[in-house]
Amino acid sequence: MSGKDEAELSRLMRAAIAGDERAYADFLHRIAALVRGFVRRKIVQGGVDPEDVVQETLLAIHVKRHTWRQDAPVLPWIYAIARFKLIDAFRRRGRRIEIEIDEIAETFAEPETETVSERDINRALDGLPPAQRSVVSAISVDGRSIGETAAKLGVSETAVRVSLHRGLAAIAKRFGRQ
């Protein structure tokens, strides 16, 4: 957590908004680790799975990236979203917590660990219309490209992009609410 992080992440995010896929992947991996560190430190008792909150935060960051002002620092924006999603996750489970925003300065990045628990995101994915669901899972779980997915499903690349975008927006909206 430093000015160097901030400058690097802002640069990656600006490149991502300009359409740079590699910069965006790099950005998402880094913030996933940061958010994971933040969330794990906040969840001391059970009830909420940290990785669910990490995933919900990443989705929110993605669908709300137009709310980031390119001349503003990106870390406060990321942590505000993570904090909101964490509080939301606790609220859905009938618990209230207060999170001090100042504590983010002590956050350290953490790697993802495999868990066996059923992810919230899978339930949201299962609730999608079939066309969107097959596109989202082909690209995410099967790791196919847009082009491969289009060929496999026998539709145009544009149709794949549209289904992917709508599917992700729908997952972000439904997360934990079904």
């Binding site: 965006y24 137009h66 620092p73 979203i81 995410s140 992009r161």
Partner: protein, 212 residues
């Protein structure tokens, strides 16, 4: 689905575009002003003696109050709809409109003899005021709540209430051109109540409609 897999899907969607929130807010403000103007001119419209009224301080002062409220609420709601944005300064500016009204009320009480206070406060058409400010403001409020959904307010109820204040400031600016009651005593009472109705509706909208 592992987080790694989710990142692949998000990454593949990098080229999807949405209008930056800042520009969207200006468009929303313009659209809201047009809707408010249409409702205003097709219902009550400006008072017939508006050219004469414009030469009186009390008439003009109403626009200073309402435009101050709308401007400061616009500043605050943009900050509230952006995660991590600092809101302290914009929130402090929200005091400007009430302070201006308070000063005007003090001056009015000083200049107008006491027996006339209640007449000035009750005015001639408070029910029209209470009805039309919410009526003119409801369309803009809907637009602003929709904008909050487009944005990412981490305090949705507060943001919704500010959307109501913004819609109220806008609606009251139009309504002030119709209203014959120019006394700050009237404005401080009935405009405030009418705008509070919109703020309450906005808070409800923020609670139940603004989810992200």
């Amino acid at each position: 689905m592992r987080t790694e897999d989710l990142i692949k899907a998000l990454d593949a969607d990098v080229r999807s575009k949405a209008m930056p929130l800042r520009s969207a807010w200006w468009m929303a403000a313009a659209a809201a002003a047009v809707i408010a103007a249409v409702v205003f001119f097709f219902t009550i419209g400006p008072r017939p003696d508006i050219m004469i009224a414009m030469h009186t301080v009390r008439f003009l002062a109403k626009f200073v109050f309402t435009l101050m409220l709308a401007t400061t609420a616009f500043g605050l709601i943009r900050a509230l709809s952006t995660p991590g944005a600092s809101t302290a300064r914009a929130a402090a500016w929200m005091l400007a409109a009430p302070l201006l009204v308070a000063v005007a009320v003090a001056l009015e009480l000083f200049m107008v003899p006491e027996p006339m206070w209640s007449t000035r406060m009750v005015g001639s058409n408070m029910m029209i005021c209470m009805g039309f400010i919410p009526l003119i403001g409801i369309g803009p409020l809907a637009i602003f709540l929709w904008m909050l959904r487009y944005g990412a307010p981490t305090r949705p109820v507060l943001a919704g209430a500010v959307a109501g204040l913004l819609a109220g400031g806008l609606a009251a600016t139009f309504y002030a051109a119709h209203c014959f009651d120019d006394s700050p005593l009237f404005v401080a009472t009935w405009y405030t109540l009418a705008i509070a109705i919109l703020a309450g509706l906005g808070a409800l909208g923020g609670r139940f409609f603004v989810r992200w």
